[in-house]
């Protein structure tokens, strides 16, 4: 009697063990959880803009840097990195932009460096100075390569093309639509590039003072020369800063344009004007603008430059 129950027990034990083995293999991979649309993560606003323009409605863009934070020095939280890890495509700017990408775990296979086609033309930075943008914020140093590549609109076109290539490879079913959208985007950007060349032509040969060292590709592309400071538009300008400005005026050929990254305070506008400069805002647009988009911000930059140059020319000719 007992000898008949033992094989039954044996079968039961074996079946349980085998079934538990199979069960553990059936668990699905969490990272492949279903989503309604593919996700494209980007490290700055220009790439987010290109990705959105090119993908249209078929993908969602993940660009979580708050509007008031420079994406180049943004540090994502663990949860934000986890969200980026789920992305189908991660677009990097390259040229050491967004240093967090080198210390965080991102999906390498889904990552595309949009500037790799022109990495031999990166601008190397001289030894940097550690500084902060706001009291209490992390200090940083500009070293390695200049990274605001997209301010050279020709390079921006190359980055948009790289973005399109990456999208076509990742989503071949949308390749035709992406190519069509790229053509339109490139036409618009080349038009802006022509306008930028035209408006900056009269600045060639003059020295500009820029509030932050982010205009290297812009000055190289449009034949300009700039002296970079480490000032913020909202920073209170005191005697040392104005002294620094006076020193530049003393050692450089006639300098009369001061370029800000963002709209400065009224007090700063007046102080710069009193020092003999014309204020211009050329927004690099690394972060998402409060209004408009990448192209409209570049258009505003051109308008701002044009207006300032007109004012500068009329002051030279004695006009009011």
């Amino acid at each position: 009697m007992k000898s008949t129950s033992s094989p039954a027990l044996l079968i039961l034990v074996t079946a349980t063990l085998v079934s538990s083995c199979h069960h553990s293999n059936k668990k699905e991979n969490l990272s492949l959880s279903e989503r309604s649309k593919p996700i494209i993560a980007t490290v700055n606003y220009p790439l987010a803009y290109f990705a959105k323009r090119l993908s249209g409605e078929f993908a969602d863009i993940l660009f979580e840097t708050p509007p008031n934070v420079d994406p180049a020095y943004w540090n994502p939280t663990d949860a934000q990195v986890s969200a980026i890890q789920e992305a189908d495509l991660v677009l990097l700017n390259g040229a050491n932009y967004a240093k967090w990408t080198s210390s965080r775990t991102i999906p390498y296979e889904a990552t595309v460096v949009t500037s790799s086609s022109f990495e031999d033309t990166f601008i190397e930075l001289e030894e940097g100075t550690s500084h902060t943008h706001k009291s209490g914020s992390t200090s940083h140093t500009h070293e390695g390569f200049a990274s605001t590549t997209w301010l050279d609109l020709e390079l921006a076109c190359k980055q948009a093309s790289s973005t399109a290539d990456a999208l076509c490879e990742q989503f071949p079913e949308h390749a035709e639509s992406i190519s069509g959208k790229l053509k339109i985007l490139l036409e618009e950007m080349r038009d802006l590039d022509r306008k930028m060349k035209s408006v900056t032509a009269s600045l060639q040969g003059t020295t500009l003072v820029v509030s932050h060292p982010v205009y290297q590709y812009w000055t190289r592309a449009y034949g300009l020369s700039a002296h970079a400071l480490h000032w913020e538009p909202m920073q209170k300008l005191g005697t040392p800063e104005l002294g620094e400005l006076a020193a530049i005026q003393g050692e450089k050929p006639p300098v009369k344009y001061f370029i800000w990254e963002g709209p400065p305070t009224e007090e700063n506008i007046n102080k710069i004007r009193m020092a003999g400069f014309i204020n211009i805002v050329v927004n690099p647009c690394g972060a998402r603008p409060a209004k408009g988009d990448f192209l409209s911000v570049m258009q505003e930059n051109i308008a701002s430059l044009s207006e300032a140059i007109t004012a500068g020319t009329s002051s030279n000719t004695g006009a009011p």
Partner: protein
């Protein structure tokens, strides 16, 4: 005499001499168990090895033993081959033949391998997170289910890498790693491993490190060269042995990434054409790397195992025959000793057939009990084979 009566008397007789009965059951069970268990273990091991090999389409690594390369990549065995440089990985990745997954498994924490890799590895092996999340930064790790269970670890705890040689003071620097997630068990070597970002293994290797800023007051006494341009850091510079949110930005890499070491690269080709291209490219003997098909390497290994198995089976069979002959002798001697008892059964009316049935029942009970025990042992061996194999190989 009824059959129940025979069974009852046999049972009573066996219980009367428990030591002899148990010894006989144990001997016969072991005699039956060993050859079957060996066959099952090797057969199951071959299945498990092949399954893991098949889920690893191609493997690129330094030239040398393809079995060493395969076992290192699949079972994280100690690295026998020289390291591969990262530029080889980049060269393969640029060919765009499919997904490329780096593996760097040189280091350990106790007995558990530390595997530096990319997030693609988890997709390739269909590994899911049971608790916590994947690693998000340098110094993070995700650990296998068995390791977590055996050490009582959970997300938020830490685990420290082991120095390769305690006397090598300038060697590998122990790094305390933050556990961010525990994998679901999948009964493979992944259950015992510690997965980190590839760059974290380079920190352990000493190619990247973090230390206090050289401009800090504590090291202001450090000497500068004559031009005052180069600050020479002295021993007072504190090197971090753990990556935290506060010091994450201070970790930096030295030298050329292209020279950084790897153990191997898993290549998952996009299609047959790309697979053929990959295989063809590494046929050139001038290239210092080789590409192996893990399934083929495992097949060679399995053939060796089967040859060994045949030898062992012959030995077990001879031993088995000897053991069964001894058991038979024990039974015969036992029946001779119980002749008076049998005669008594005859005197009280038991037929000769009934007495033979009585003796046969005793033998049958012992044989069935031994077979059941042997079968349970074989089943357990089959179930435990993957873990046992992992332990034996690692």
């Amino acid at each position: 005499m009824r059959i129940t009566g025979i069974a009852y008397l046999s049972w009573k007789a066996l219980r009367h001499r428990p030591f002899r009965s148990l010894l006989l059951i144990g001997t016969i069970a072991l005699t039956l168990y060993f050859p079957r268990a060996l066959q099952e273990f090797i057969s199951r091991s071959e299945e498990v090895l092949s399954a893991r090999a098949r889920s690893t389409p191609l493997l690129m690594g330094p030239r040398g033993s393809s079995i060493d390369l395969t076992l290192n990549a699949l079972y994280f065995t100690p690295q026998e081959l020289p390291p591969l440089d990262y530029s080889s990985y980049e060269t393969l990745a640029r060919k765009d033949l499919g997904n490329t997954i780096p593996i760097h498994s040189r280091f350990r924490s106790g007995n558990s391998p530390i595997v530096g890799t990319s997030l693609e590895y988890f997709k390739l092996r269909a590994l899911s997170i049971n608790a916590g999340r994947l690693m998000t930064r340098l110094g993070d790790c995700v650990i296998g289910a068995r390791l977590a269970e055996s050490k009582g670890l959970k997300p938020g705890d830490t685990i420290t890498s082991s120095p390769e040689n305690i006397f090598d003071l300038a060697g590998v620097y122990p790094l305390r790693m933050r556990i961010t997630g525990i994998l679901s068990p999948n009964r493979t070597p992944d259950d015992h491993a510690i997965f980190v970002d590839l760059k974290t293994t380079w920190i352990i290797e000493g190619l990247a490190h973090g230390h206090q800023k050289l401009s800090q007051a504590e090291i202001m006494g450090s000497s500068r060269n004559s031009a005052g341009r180069i600050l020479r850091a002295n021993a007072s510079v504190v090197e971090f042995n753990e990556v935290t949110e506060a010091n994450l930005g201070d970790f930096h890499f030295h030298g050329d990434y292209g020279n950084y070491p790897l153990s191997s690269v898993i290549l998952d080709p996009s299609d047959k054409k790309h697979r053929a291209l990959a295989l063809a490219f590494y046929q050139d003997p001038a290239i210092p790397q080789q590409i192996v098909i893990p399934a083929t390497a495992v097949e060679h290994l399995a053939n060796t195992l089967f040859a060994t198995q045949r030898l062992a089976l012959v030995a077990f069979s001879l031993l088995g025959i000897a053991a069964l002959a001894l058991a038979l002798m024990v039974f015969l001697l036992s029946f001779r000793l119980r002749e008076r008892e049998m005669r008594t059964y005859g005197k009280i009316g038991a037929t000769r057939l009934a007495i033979l049935c009585l003796q046969g029942a005793e033998v049958t009970i012992i044989a069935v009990a031994a077979t059941i025990i042997a079968q349970i042992g074989v089943t357990l061996t089959r179930v435990a084979a993957p873990d046992l194999l992992t332990r034996l190989i690692s």
